[in-house]
Symmetry: C2
Subunit: 462 residues, 2 copies
C-alpha cells in the first residue's frame, strides 16, 4: 500500500509535470499564436489529406502531433473576403469586403478593410502581443489599409495577389478608353516598397526567414505571427532547391516548399522551447484554382474549387498544433477561420469586440478536449449573395455555380439538399426526402439574413 | 575510448536486439502472413486516405506503424478476376478468370479457377504453412474449385458474392424460358453448407472470431490467413453494435466494423507476441460500387469506380504492416496484388512456379527498405480486353468506360494519355504533347499482348 504522504507527493508531481491543459483547473499561460495561411491550397493537396504524389512530411507530422480537422471552413471561396473573415471573425458581407461583380481587390482598387473593423491583430496587440504580418495581405493596399494600420507591428510581404501586375489608368478624356500600366506585384516592408516586381522564386524562403527572425526576436514575450504564404497561388514559383522536388510537377514543388517552410517554423519553436507555449494553425484561404488545370490543386473527394460554394471551394485542410495542450486526433467537427478570432482571444486573454456581430465561435473546448464544437451552422456566401447554408449534416443550396466564370450562379427553387456526412462529394440531392430539413434551414437562413445590414462594397471603390 | 572487446559486445548486442531486417546480412525468420481483403472498398474510404466522416482508427494506426501505399493496384476492377490475380500472381486473362460478357462467377456458373493454377495458398502450404481462407471466395463454388482444393487447410465463408441469391434453372423444353430459383448465399465450412441464406449481420464478427481462432491454434507454426471480408459489398450489413456507429451512415457503419475486425486481428497478434513475426497486408478487391450511390464508397480524388479501368476502379488503399521489419512510411511507388505471390514466396522461403508466366514482381526490397519497387508498368484489363497501360507516370487508354453498365467501352484511336503523377484524377489528356510516350507505351502493350495466349473463359461455362 502507498501511504497518504506518498500520494500527496505523487499528486503534486503530477500537477507540476502533467502537460498544460490536462490539469483542467489550472489556467494555461497565454500561448503565442502562429497562423500559417496558404493560398489556393485544395482540401486534397496534402499527403495527410490523401494526396498520392505530393509529399508533405512536415505537415503530416504536425497533423499527427496535433488535430487534423476534416470539416473546417473559410469565410469565402476567394482571397479578399476569406482573409477579411479570418481577420475580423465576421462574415465579409458585414463589412463590405465582398462583391458579386468583383471577387477581390485589384491594384487599382481604392477600398480596403475599414478602419472601424477590429482585427485579430488589434485584439492581440491590445493584450500585449508582438504582432507581425508576413506574406500576402490583400485587404487594401492604400496606406490607410495596410497591415500596420490594422494592428500589426510589422509587415513584410505583398499587398495583393502575386498574379496582379497591371494598374488601370482611367481614360484621359470623358468617354475615352481606359488603359493598363504594367507595374508587377511589389514586395513591401511596412509601407515601403522593397522590390517591384518581386522575385517570386525566393518568396517562400524569404517569408520563412522573416518569420524565424520575428519568433527569435520575440521569444521572451507573447507574439502573434500571421504568416500568409503567397503560394501555391498561380503564377507558381519555387526556389532552385525545389525545382523538380515533387512528383506532382510544378504545383507539387511549390506545395512541398510551403511544407518545408512549415517545418522550419515548427523546428524554430522546438529549438527555442516555445513549442509547448505556441498554438500553430495551418489552413488555406480557399479551394484550388481548377481553371488553371494542372497548375491548380485538388479538392480531393470534394466537389468544386475556388470561387464556388461547393465544399471544394470553402472546406480546407486545417491543422491545430500545440504540443501538451492539444491532444493528437482527427477532429470531425465543424470549425471556421471565422472562429479563430474568438478562440484565440479566449486563449490569449484578449477582448472580443462586444459592439458588433461576431460570426465566429469559441473553439477552445475542442482544442483543450473539454467539449464539442459550438459550431453547427455555416453560411456560404459568394460576394454578398447567400448561396448555401449548412446545418448539422445537411447543406441546402439556393444557388450553385456551374463554373468559375459564371457570376450569378444557378438559382434553385426549391433548394437542393445534400447530406454531407453521408455524401461529402455532394452528388445526391435528397431535398425530396427531407422537406422538414429544408424548412428548418430556410428558417435559419431567414433569421440570419435579417441580422445582416447591407453596407457598401469596399471592393468596387476606385 | 571504447576498447575492442566492448565494441565486439556492442556489435553482438546490436545484432541480437536490432529489429529484424535492419541487420541486412541476417536472413529474417519466415513470417506468418495475413492478407485482409475488403470488398468494394474505395481508395478514399479510410480516414488515413482522406475520408472526412468514416472513422477507421485501427487501419489508421496500422498505416502509421507500417507502409501506406498510394499507388497499389488490383489485377482487375471486378471481384472474380481481381481475386484470381491475387491468388495466382497472374493476370486473369492468362487463366480464363475473366470475360467481357460476364464480369464474375454467378451461382449458376460451372467454371472456376483451374486446378492447374498454383495458388499462393498452395505455394505456402508446400512450404509448411498452415493455411486458411476465411470469408468470400468467388473463384468457383463447385467442389473441385473450393478453397480446400486450392491449397487451404480450412475454409469458412461464402462461395460467391453476398448479393447473389438466385440460381438460373435451364428451360425444361428446348426453346423454353429459363427460370430462377431463390437460394440465397450460403455460409460454408469446408465443403459443407452451415447456413443458407446466411445471416449477414454477424458475418464480419464471425469471420473475425474464426480468424482469431486460426491464429491462436497455429501460434507455434508458420501460418497464412486469407481473410477476405464480405463487406462493404452491397447489400450492406453490420452487427447491432455498429448500427449508427458512423456519421457516414450504413456504408460507414460497415467500414467501421471491418476496421474493428482489423483491430482485433492485430491485437491478437500483439497479444500472442506474433506481431514482429507476421506480415499483415490490408487492401481491397476493387473500387467503390458507385451505381449504388450512397450505399457505395468513394474513390477519393480518383476517377471512376468498380468495373472501370479508371484509377478509381483499380487503385486501392493498401497497408503493409510488420513491426520491426517494415519501417513506417508512405510508399509512393507502384505495387499490385499480383506482386503478393512472388513477394510472400520470397519472404517465406516458398517456391514461385517456374513453368508459367507470373505477372507479379518481388516487392521485398520496398518492404525491407533495401531498394525501389521493380514495378514500373501496370496493365488494366476489363474482361479480356486490354483497356489501358501505365508505364512510369503515364497511363495510356485504348478504351474507357462511360459507365458501369457499358460493356464494350469507348475506343480511343489515337489513345488518351494522362500523367498520373501530375494529374491523379485523370482530367487532362496530354496525348498531343507526348507522342513519344504514346509510341513507347504502344510498344510495351504490343510486346505484352504477344505474350498472352488466349484461353477459354471460365466465367462463361454453365
Amino acid at each position: 500500500m502507498i501511504s497518504t504522504a506518498k500520494w500527496t507527493v505523487a499528486a503534486w508531481v503530477l500537477a507540476v509535470c502533467l502537460p498544460i491543459g490536462v490539469a483542467r483547473a489550472a489556467k494555461p499561460p497565454r500561448p503565442n499564436v502562429v497562423i500559417i495561411f496558404a493560398d489556393d491550397l485544395g482540401y486534397g493537396d496534402l499527403s495527410c489529406y490523401g494526396h498520392p504524389t505530393i509529399n508533405t512530411p512536415h505537415l503530416d507530422r504536425m497533423a499527427h502531433e496535433g488535430q487534423r480537422w476534416t470539416e473546417f471552413y473559410v469565410a469565402a471561396s476567394m482571397c479578399t473576403p476569406s482573409r477579411a473573415g479570418l481577420m475580423t471573425g465576421r462574415l465579409p458581407v458585414r463589412n463590405g469586403m465582398c462583391s458579386l461583380r468583383q471577387h477581390v481587390l485589384y491594384p487599382d482598387s481604392a477600398g480596403g478593410l475599414p478602419q472601424s473593423e477590429i482585427t485579430l491583430a488589434e485584439t492581440l496587440k491590445d493584450a500585449g502581443y508582438a504582432t507581425a504580418c508576413i506574406g500576402k495581405w490583400h485587404l487594401g493596399h492604400r496606406s490607410e489599409f495596410l497591415p500596420m494600420k490594422q494592428g500589426f507591428d510589422e509587415f513584410y510581404g505583398l499587398p495583393y495577389s502575386n498574379d496582379m501586375k497591371n494598374r488601370r489608368v482611367p481614360p484621359k478624356k470623358p468617354g475615352g478608353k481606359a488603359s493598363h500600366e504594367y507595374i508587377g506585384v511589389p514586395l513591401m516592408r511596412g509601407e515601403k516598397t522593397l522590390e517591384q516586381p518581386v522575385d517570386q522564386t525566393t518568396l517562400t524562403q524569404r517569408y520563412t526567414k522573416e518569420a524565424i527572425r520575428f519568433i527569435e526576436k520575440n521569444r521572451k514575450r507573447p507574439f502573434f505571427l500571421y504568416l500568409a504564404q503567397t503560394m501555391p497561388h498561380v503564377p507558381l514559383f519555387r526556389s532552385k532547391e525545389f525545382v523538380d522536388h515533387s512528383r506532382r510537377g510544378l504545383y507539387g514543388d511549390v506545395v512541398e516548399e510551403v511544407d518545408e517552410s512549415v517545418g522550419q517554423v515548427l523546428d524554430t519553436l522546438r529549438r527555442l522551447k516555445l513549442d509547448k507555449h505556441t498554438l500553430v494553425v495551418f489552413t488555406s484561404d480557399n479551394g484550388p484554382w481548377l481553371v488553371y488545370r494542372q497548375r491548380g490543386g485538388s479538392a480531393g473527394l470534394l466537389r468544386g474549387g475556388k470561387g464556388s460554394t461547393w465544399e471544394g471551394g470553402m472546406r480546407e485542410p486545417a491543422i491545430f498544433w500545440w504540443p501538451g495542450t492539444i491532444k493528437p486526433e482527427v477532429v470531425r467537427q465543424m470549425g471556421s477561420t471565422l472562429d479563430l478570432l474568438p478562440t484565440i482571444a479566449k486563449l490569449c486573454g484578449a477582448e472580443v469586440p462586444l459592439d458588433r456581430v461576431i460570426d465566429g465561435l469559441d473553439l477552445t473546448p475542442v482544442l483543450t478536449g473539454t467539449g464539442p464544437s459550438p459550431r453547427d451552422t455555416m453560411f456560404y456566401y459568394r460576394g454578398n449573395q447567400l448561396c448555401a447554408v449548412r446545418h448539422g449534416p445537411y447543406k441546402m443550396y439556393y444557388f450553385t455555380q456551374p463554373n468559375y466564370r459564371n457570376r450569378k450562379g444557378i438559382k434553385h427553387d426549391p433548394p437542393l439538399l445534400y447530406n454531407l456526412d453521408h455524401d461529402p462529394s455532394e452528388q445526391h440531392d435528397v431535398a425530396k426526402q427531407h422537406p422538414e430539413v429544408i424548412e428548418q434551414i430556410r428558417e435559419i437562413a431567414e433569421a440570419h439574413q435579417k441580422g445582416v445590414t447591407p453596407v457598401p462594397s469596399q471592393l468596387e471603390i476606385r
